[in-house]
């Protein structure tokens, strides 16, 4: 059951990611990304992260991606042109990406025993568990995040403001 779910949504994830890569219209890519994120939310649930699953759907798939689509629409972005800006990106990048994948996979699989097995419902983090740590041990980072958001607002205002 767990494995089946993992495989189904795992495949969704990868398919969505690949679709993001292959689609030429940004809107399609954005939708693919939403698929990935939603599938990830399911995987979070499988791993017992209830709150995160919800947050993933609300914040990521919801807020952030809406922002993306909004901007896509705003800028009226059309299909990508297949320009040839850089060969280095392929020559260096793809082997790099492939090597990254290879190394990471190798590390994870060869050391697979160290990480144990994930069982459904074995370890469920409730929101209260989460907040206990978040508002005590990690209070400061949480507070500091406000500065981050302040900056984001400031920046968005400053940059997107139309010049006269």
């Amino acid at each position: 059951m767990h494995l089946a779910l993992f495989i189904i949504f795992g495949v969704f994830c990868v398919a969505g990611a690949l679709n993001l890569l292959l689609q030429r219209h940004p809107i399609n890519s954005a939708l693919s990304l939403i698929v990935v994120m939603s599938s990830l939310a399911v995987l979070y649930l499988l791993l017992g992260a209830e709150f995160l699953a919800a947050a993933q759907v609300i914040v990521y798939s919801g807020a952030i991606m809406v922002l993306f689509t909004f901007v896509i629409m705003l800028l009226n972005a059309g299909k990508e042109e297949r320009t040839h800006g850089s060969r280095l990106a392929y020559i260096a990048g793809f082997p790099g990406a492939a090597a990254l994948l290879g190394i990471l996979t190798f590390v994870f699989l060869s050391r697979g025993g160290d990480f144990g097995q994930a069982r459904l419902g074995e370890y469920i983090v409730t929101t209260s568990d989460l907040s206990r740590v978040l508002f005590r041990d990690l209070l400061l980072p949480f507070e500091v995040t406000s500065v981050l958001i302040l900056i984001a607002i400031l920046g968005a205002v400053a940059l997107a403001r139309k010049e006269h």
Partner: protein, 671 residues
């Protein structure tokens, strides 16, 4: 020991140099003259006082003024020495020097650089006296180089003339080649003796009778190289004929009587070293003989009166070398003395002639001057006979002494040297009488003497532009005329000395005492083998050489007086030979092609061009460009494209991970 204040002897001319050199430009001419003459006369008086002084001081008499150069325990001092050899030289230098100063007052009277001339002359005296008085090699070298400097300055006195400036430079540089030898000799001396003091070195040599040849030969040969430079011997004689670009009194004083004899003096002074090296002596003798003969042949074909005398000087210096080379140092020095008299006289008389002709130096434009300038003629005649070796004049005595010593020298080649020397004596007589006839006899062949000559401004108008403007209207445009008395008196003095000077060393074979040789026995002895020879031989040889001289006279008489058309016929017949001699064997050209041109070529193209510009500058540039090229290559990564940057990052991230995982980098860390 009485203090003779030897340092005063050179210092007075130096003071004269300073006064005239620094402020002479602003002083009235009379004052310049006075300073110069006093500066030249005082040393002469001083030397006379020493000679006449009470008793003879310890020989050698040494005075030390303090250290000049020192390093560790080595030191070279300002120390002067007086012995018989020095005294002889002092007499010559101060005596002839003063006489020529006197002469110059008249000769240079109208030059704008009058003060400059006399300051240089005084400077010359200073250095020459230093050279003579020095007690060590280093101080001698001061004089040695110093006279070279004075010579350089005086040859280039008419510096606006390129030829004069060239000649001065040439003289200095060729002398420097000789000095190179002198320097190396000094280094060897220091290496072996730890000192440069004559007394200490000769003392050490004296203590080690076993030292023969070896390093002493090396030292002696290097000294010979120095001497050939200064005394214009083969192979370094080339500068002296060119040095005739200087004013004539300079030629008389420096390039005939004193400076050029420094080499001979040096060999005599260091004879203890030469005595230990048969090789070096032989070299000296051969060089001397060869030079004597060689220069004499060139002298036969020269038309410039001063050049004839210049080659004659080279030739006579060769005789002196020959004398030294057969270890008859006193003979060499004696010839030096007599030569100083008659050669100075010849130059001064030639100067008088040139003066009379308003600057003309080409003998082909002279002739028949006998009656117009009688005093000059007669004094010159005395000199011509003296140099040609007619008894009983000074030249006869000294030259015969040398030839005799060569003949009796135990060296295998002594007879050959004698034979060549004898032949040279004939040549000498020939070219001297050729000069005599061409100048004083026959018809006057010159154009009107008022006109400046073609190849150079007249002698009075040669210094600088300012000078030309001043001097030209004042020139002697009034035909051929006798020189003023201030010039003639020196001629007469020297003529007298040329005639009677031989008496000092009249050979015992002819009833004399050879006082000179005895006088010098201490400083520059005749070696003992000469005494073994018999007096009859000496007399016979004297007669032979007199006959040779007569023969030379006869040929000259034939060619230049009796049958003036003969020379042309002969030159036409022996065209190649004549060209060879007249062009001085093309030695200057050969030196130019073999030494100067290659050096300049190497300097300009090989070193300056290829190595300096090419390799050193080019290497620097290449290194710079290589670094920049690598930089440019690296900048290629900087394509400006975000995707390519990301690709680059991804690649290196992967490499980094791989390295971390496999631990590669740990092994590749260089220490």
């Amino acid at each position: 020991m009485t203090d003779l204040h030897l340092w005063l002897i050179p210092i007075v001319p130096f003071a004269g140099f300073l006064v005239n050199g620094l402020v002479g430009r602003k002083l009235p001419k009379a004052l310049v003259t006075a300073v110069a003459l006093v500066a030249a006369a005082v040393p002469m008086i001083q030397v006379a006082a020493i000679i006449a002084g009470p008793g003879s001081p310890a020989v050698p008499h040494i005075e030390n003024l303090g250290t000049w150069i020192r390093a560790g325990s080595f030191h070279a001092d300002f120390s002067f020495q007086l012995d018989h050899l020095t005294l002889v030289m002092l007499c010559v230098v101060t005596g002839v020097g003063f006489v020529i100063h006197l002469y110059s007052v008249g000769y240079m009277g109208e030059e704008a650089g009058y003060w400059r001339f006399f300051s240089y002359m005084n400077l010359f005296l200073f250095f020459m006296l230093m050279l003579v008085l020095a007690e060590n090699f280093l101080l001698m070298f001061v004089g040695w180089e110093g006279v070279g400097l004075a010579s350089y300055l005086l040859i280039g006195f008419y510096y606006t003339r390129d030829s004069a400036a060239d000649a001065g430079k040439k003289a200095f540089i060729v002398n420097r080649i000789g000095d190179f030898g002198f320097l190396l000799a000094m280094f060897l001396l220091i290496a072996h003796f730890g000192t440069l003091s004559f007394q200490e070195i000769f003392g050490q040599i004296g203590m080690h009778p076993a030292w023969q040849g070896g390093f002493l030969t090396a030292i002696a040969l290097l000294l010979v190289l120095g001497a050939t430079g200064k005394s214009a011997q083969i192979p370094l004689y080339v500068w002296l004929p060119d040095a005739m670009e200087g004013p004539t009194p300079v030629s008389a004083l420096i390039h005939a009587a004193t400076m050029v004899t420094a080499g001979v003096y040096m060999v005599a002074r260091t004879h203890l070293i030469f005595d230990r090296s048969a090789v070096a002596l032989a070299v000296v003798a051969i060089i001397g003989t060869a030079t004597a003969f060689f220069a004499a042949t060139i002298g036969m074909a020269q038309n410039d009166i001063k050049r004839v005398l210049a080659y004659s000087t080279v030739s006579q210096l060769g005789y002196m070398f020959l004398g030294c080379g057969v270890a008859a140092y006193s003979a060499g020095i004696f010839h030096l003395v007599t030569h100083a008299f008659f050669k100075a006289l010849l130059f001064l008389a030639a100067g008088s002639v040139i003066h009379a002709l308003g600057g003309e130096q080409d003998m082909r434009a002279m002739g028949g001057l006998r009656r117009r300038i009688p005093i000059t003629f007669w004094t010159m005649t005395a000199a011509v006979f003296a140099i040609s070796g007619f008894p009983p004049l000074a030249g006869f005595v000294s030259k015969d002494e040398i030839l005799y010593q060569a003949f009796v020298s135990p060296n295998a080649g002594g007879r050959i040297l004698w034979a060549v020397g004898l032949l040279t004596a004939g040549l000498t007589a020939f070219y001297m009488f050729r000069l005599w006839y061409m100048t004083f006899f026959g018809e006057y062949r010159g154009a009107h003497s008022e006109e400046p000559t073609e190849h150079g401004a007249p002698v009075h108008a040669r210094s600088d532009t300012k000078l030309v403007l001043e001097a030209e209207p004042a020139g002697h445009g009034h035909g051929v005329h006798e020189s003023p008395w201030v010039m003639l008196i020196p001629l007469i003095i020297l003529a007298v000395l040329s005639v009677i000077g031989g008496a000092m060393g009249w050979p015992e074979a002819l009833g004399g005492t050879n006082w000179f040789a005895h006088f010098l026995a201490n400083g520059a002895p005749r070696t003992s083998h000469a005494a073994a020879a018999d007096k009859g031989l000496e007399a016979v040889l004297a007669i032979v050489s007199t006959l040779v001289a007569l023969a030379g006279w006869f040929v000259a008489h034939l060619m230049y007086y009796a049958k003036p058309e003969l020379p042309e016929r002969l030159t036409a017949r022996m065209h190649a030979l004549y060209a060879l001699v007249a062009n001085k064997y093309w030695v200057d050209q050969i030196y130019g092609a073999l030494i100067v041109a290659p050096v300049l070529f190497i300097a300009r193209y090989l070193l300056g061009g290829l190595i300096d510009r090419g390799i050193i500058d080019g290497g620097t540039l290449t290194a710079g460009y290589t670094a920049q090229g690598i930089g440019a290559l690296l900048a290629r990564i900087q394509s400006g494209n975000i995707r390519s940057y990301a690709g680059w990052l991804a690649l290196f991230a992967a490499l980094m991970l791989a390295a971390a995982w496999f631990g590669w980098i740990t092994q590749f860390l260089p220490r």
